[in-house]
């Protein structure tokens, strides 16, 4: 191996050699090959046979033609800490590796090994003198250097970081704040306090938005490591940051809530949420972070904070609920006893955006059956007028999920105020049952419980009314004179077909199957036979029986019989307000 390394180095093809060996390792699934390669590379470098840092410097600007940069970077990340090198050469190599990685999140894989190199060699202070605290390009390297210094001696690390925070270079301040959040100060109360005081000063002292955001993130990091006696300082810092928070600070808050909010107190969560919820619609990245944050907080049981963050985002039209996949998914993961109150809260809020979110949430639930709720309202917890308001909102927003809507109405009939029962029962029949006399009727028949159940008489009466209504429809019998003509039926069929084709094309475009599969059109048969080349180069036969995927939904009857009236009725339910 050593000879091969030397030969590759001599011919200027060391990167390609590293790539080839790494590929071999992947193919053979033999981890020892990587170890052997790393050991030989370090030895060759440290003994002066090759200069790996010089080779690394050639990778900047994407000059690693014919090889895979990420494989090379992986190898470098595994050996940098062990290389003997001058600080300047090492800095140049790490910078080159970062630059070659571009904006990819994996671009900085060599950074921590670089920090470890500084710790191993004691070169951190020397490195610091070679970096430019006024340059944004060096922020990451300065932060790593401060970390290395702090690992040697936390006090010195804090001193140096505080000095940089106190200076006027924003890049240096950012680097220091980044670093200070990573210092392990858990054993030193005084240092912790000093760091937080400095970060607080930075957050409230007219610093750039990005500095404030990173200072806030650093303070949260410190608090997480040393939760005792640091919350008050953290809250003060967050309060100060809230006064000046711009997009960077808001983004940092969202990220913090997403990734680092586990174990934070309700007070801290509330303070961070208060900043994050100020996000603007144009900051799509931050909205994405908030989506993830809400999802994570729901999973962690931080539901109040999650809703406090999510609801303003929806109400202020910062994002559509359909765009918040993580939050939606996490909500649907909740137990019905937890999700039900959220749905009620949103419907009772009177906000159309929250009502729409409820509709989308229930609509997004791709389960075996519809989402249903069994909610105990308790007769004293709600006024009759509120119950009717809730029922109308439920119908307005959940109309196309009739069983879900009916489940809420049945809960109201069962445990809600008796004074509201007649109005709620009427809504259960019209517009719900009258529109969805198929699936909903069957579901309701299953809900008939013992006579002592307060909902039972209302359900029985609603079903009886439906039966009478349907009998009335059947009694007409065929009236061919009222049917559309053959020509009109043909036109309508063509329109339907065209509309289905458009929908089919749109569905194809957004289908995940389109991303993972090759599209092939089969003109005949219900079985596909094809050949493909296997890893060994042999032709392999593949035979696949084709199946069908079908789905169906019940169209609301009144959408055909009196569409304008139905639309108007639902609009009224969705838009009406409860006056006090």
């Amino acid at each position: 191996m050593r000879e091969e390394i030397l030969a590759a180095s001599g011919s200027g093809t060391l990167p390609q050699f590293i790539t080839r060996v790494t590929l071999d390792r992947y193919r053979s699934d033999d981890g020892t090959k990587s170890t052997v390669l790393a050991r030989n590379l370090v030895a060759a470098h440290n003994e002066g046979d090759v200069d790996l840092l010089e080779v690394a410097a050639t990778l900047a600007g994407g000059r690693a033609d014919g090889c895979d940069f990420w494989m090379i970077q992986e190898v470098y990340a595994s050996i940098i800490a062990e290389l003997d090198a001058e600080p300047a050469a090492m800095i140049a190599a790490v910078r080159a590796l970062n630059e070659a990685g571009g904006s990819d999140m994996a671009a900085g894989r060599a950074n921590h090994p670089f920090r470890d190199w500084m710790v191993r060699t004691g070169n951190a202070r020397a490195v610091l003198t070679l970096l430019d605290s006024g340059s944004n390009d060096d922020i990451v390297l300065i932060a790593l250097t401060l970390e290395a210094i702090a690992k040697e001696d936390a006090g010195t690390g804090v001193d140096v970081a505080v000095a940089l925070l106190g200076a006027t270079d924003p890049a240096g301040q950012v680097a220091a704040a980044l670093a200070i959040g990573r210092f392990d100060l858990s054993n030193d109360t005084e240092l912790t306090d000093r760091a937080l005081v400095m970060l607080r000063a930075i957050a409230g002292g007219g610093s750039e938005d990005r500095v404030v955001g990173i200072a806030l993130g650093a303070a949260v990091d410190i608090h997480r490591r040393v939760p005792v006696d640091t919350e008050a300082r953290l809250l003060a810092l967050v309060a100060a940051a809230a006064q000046v928070a711009g997009p960077e600070t808001i983004h940092r808050c969202a990220t913090t809530l997403y990734l680092w909010a586990e174990g934070l107190s309700e007070a801290v969560l509330t303070a961070l949420v208060a900043i994050a919820r100020e996000v603007r619609a144009e900051n799509k990245g931050t909205v994405r972070e908030i989506d993830h944050a809400v999802g994570q907080m729901l999973r962690r049981g931080q539901r109040r904070a999650a809703l406090n963050l999510l609801e303003p985002v929806l109400i202020k039209d910062v994002a559509d609920f359909d765009d918040l996949g993580s939050a939606s998914y996490a909500l649907l993961e909740l137990d019905q006893s937890l999700l039900g109150p959220i749905v009620l809260r949103w419907l009772l809020s009177g906000h159309n955006d929250l009502g729409d979110a409820t509709r989308m949430l229930v609509g997004n639930a791709h389960r075996d059956g519809p989402v249903t709720f069994s909610i105990d309202f308790g007769p004293d917890r709600m006024e009759a007028i509120q119950a009717v308001f809730l029922a109308r909102k439920t119908v307005g927003f959940l109309f196309v999920q009739p069983i879900t809507a009916a489940s809420i109405l049945v809960s109201l009939l069962r445990t809600g105020p008796a004074a509201a029962a007649a109005d709620v029962a009427e809504l259960l029949f019209d517009p719900l049952l009258i529109n969805f006399s198929g699936g909903l009727s069957a579901w309701l028949r299953d809900q008939v419980a013992e006579p002592t159940d307060a909902a039972t008489p209302h359900i029985v009466e609603a079903i009886a009314r439906l039966d009478r209504y349907l009998d009335g429809l059947r009694a007409v019998g065929p009236v061919p004179e009222l049917r559309p003509s053959e020509r009109e039926r043909l036109i309508e069929r063509q329109r339907q077909q065209r509309s289905m084709e458009v929908a089919h094309k749109a569905a194809e475009k957004s289908s995940i199957i389109g991303l993972i599969a090759t599209r092939q059109v089969l003109l005949y048969g219900n079985r596909s036979i094809s050949y493909f080349e296997g890893p060994s180069g042999n032709q392999q036969r593949n035979e696949m029986k084709l199946g069908q995927i079908t789905t169906s939904m019940e169209a609301p009857r009144l959408d055909i019989l009196e569409p304008v009236g139905l639309d108007y009725e639902l609009r009224v339910y969705r838009n009406e307000r409860l006056t006090t």
Binding site: A475, V476, S485, R495, V564
Partner: protein
Amino acid sequence: MKLVIREYLTSLRERGELDAVLPDMLTEMGFTVYSRPAVGTRQYGVDIAAVGDGQDGVRRVHLFSVKSGDLGRQDWDTASPQSLRPSLNEIRDHYVTTRIPPEYADLPIAICLCFGGDIAEQVRAEVTGYCRANTTARVTYEEWNGDRLAQVILDGILREELLPAALRGHLRKAVAMVEEPDIAMGHFARLTRELVDAGDDAPDRLARARLINICLWILFVWAREAGNVEAPYRASELAMLQVWNMLKDVLPGRGVRARNAGILFNELATLHFAIWDELYAKKVLPHAAVRHALATAVQSYAAIDVNLKLFQTIGRVALRGLWLVWEVPGEHSLPTVLADDDSDGIARIDTLCSQLVEIIANNRALLSPATDEQAIDIALVLTLLGTRPRFRPSIDQWIKELSENAQIAYLTHGRYPTTRTSYWDLVEHPAERTDEYRKSTTEGSVLYPLLALWAVATGNDEARDSIARFKAEHLTHCNFQLWLPDEDSETSLYLGDDNHGAALGGVPVGEGTTATLDYVNRECATNNHFDRLSAIALGHWPVLLTACRHHRLPVPPQIWRDLFPSLLAARAGQMAAGNVV
């Protein structure tokens, strides 16, 4: 062709049907019909009495006792009043001896056993025996069965010179396609139009009108057997209008020809009502009070189909009601408010009005017109309801809801009333949810001014003001208009020819004013073309409304000339009595 007619004759169900067409058949054979059937009565067993040459060339008095369908044992000699033998006895014992008009007293007599089908074998011997036993030197018996009647029709009304082979083809095709009304109607329309355009000779016109009548009968009976009378319904409206156009200059006369023309038009109207009964009285109106029953009966997944059929239905029902209004005795040349009384006519009108209100209440698509031209059907319903004071609240409510729903649909880019009429356009309407598209499909309207005019005339200030605001805020691009007949209309109106009449544009609707009514009244006061229309001049205003409904022309506002003052007076009376808020 004979098979078509034979089947038609066999399928004539009721006694009133065969004896309704028989006089025309006899007239075309050269007979003089001196006694026609009167509803519910027979003259000593005789349904029709006529004088003419028999098959042997001998001139006789022919006394017809008519029975529909086949003649079986039940029809021959039972206690039923429809039984034939007792009728024949009555003719022999009473009519022959006492009822023959003096001028025909010397003529031999043929008693005709007339039925659309055949004699059943089990009674043939009895019938033959009866006829032989009662035949005398003066009185003979003849069997006019379906075969003979079919031949009579072919040799008479449908004779080659009146109905050439090409036109017979249209009749056959119309009959064959009764279950596809558009196609059947297409053939029937071509058949009748050619008959209408065949010439101006007056006697010939009467013969052609009879031909149209019998063709319509044939179409109706076949369609009834098929269970779908949509084609004959449309055909009957068209036939009535075309025959009106053919005979309108004969009708005002005083001679036999005028009387025959009147009888013929009356027969056509009666047939039209029979078809209406078959469809609406039997199939539709019994379900008026059942929620969504009629909308569901359309059996379509397209909301536009339901909407179109429902508005068509109320338009047709209202038109029938207006014919009943016309039949109410009194001094009124146009629709007017009818006083309450105990007559059957008023009771029937009130029943129809109630059923219309029920249809609207139970099929609320009727609150949301999809096309502007549905103003025609709405106008017919409003006119009918307007004649009966007890339905004023329904008018107020309906106008308000029509106006509100149209506005909501417009503001939400829903299914607002469009000026487009092609089914292609309607089924996709609104094709775009853009202001530009919406504007392009609402550039003119007869619907909103109609509602505003009625709102003013009935004192419905809320609806009027709502339309006025909507016009000012959202419909400034829309030309509110009404249609009035002009000097070309008389020649085109009944036949449905295009491009006649005048659009009265710029109809104003102002909050708190009667500007709409004033504007219309001013024009109506100076425009005399309406009164020159034959339908108006001859006192047959439902013919004009039939033409408007059938040919999809807006109802001209002069039709309410007598009605509106009564409505306004009633409103003023209510206000004076403090019954209006």
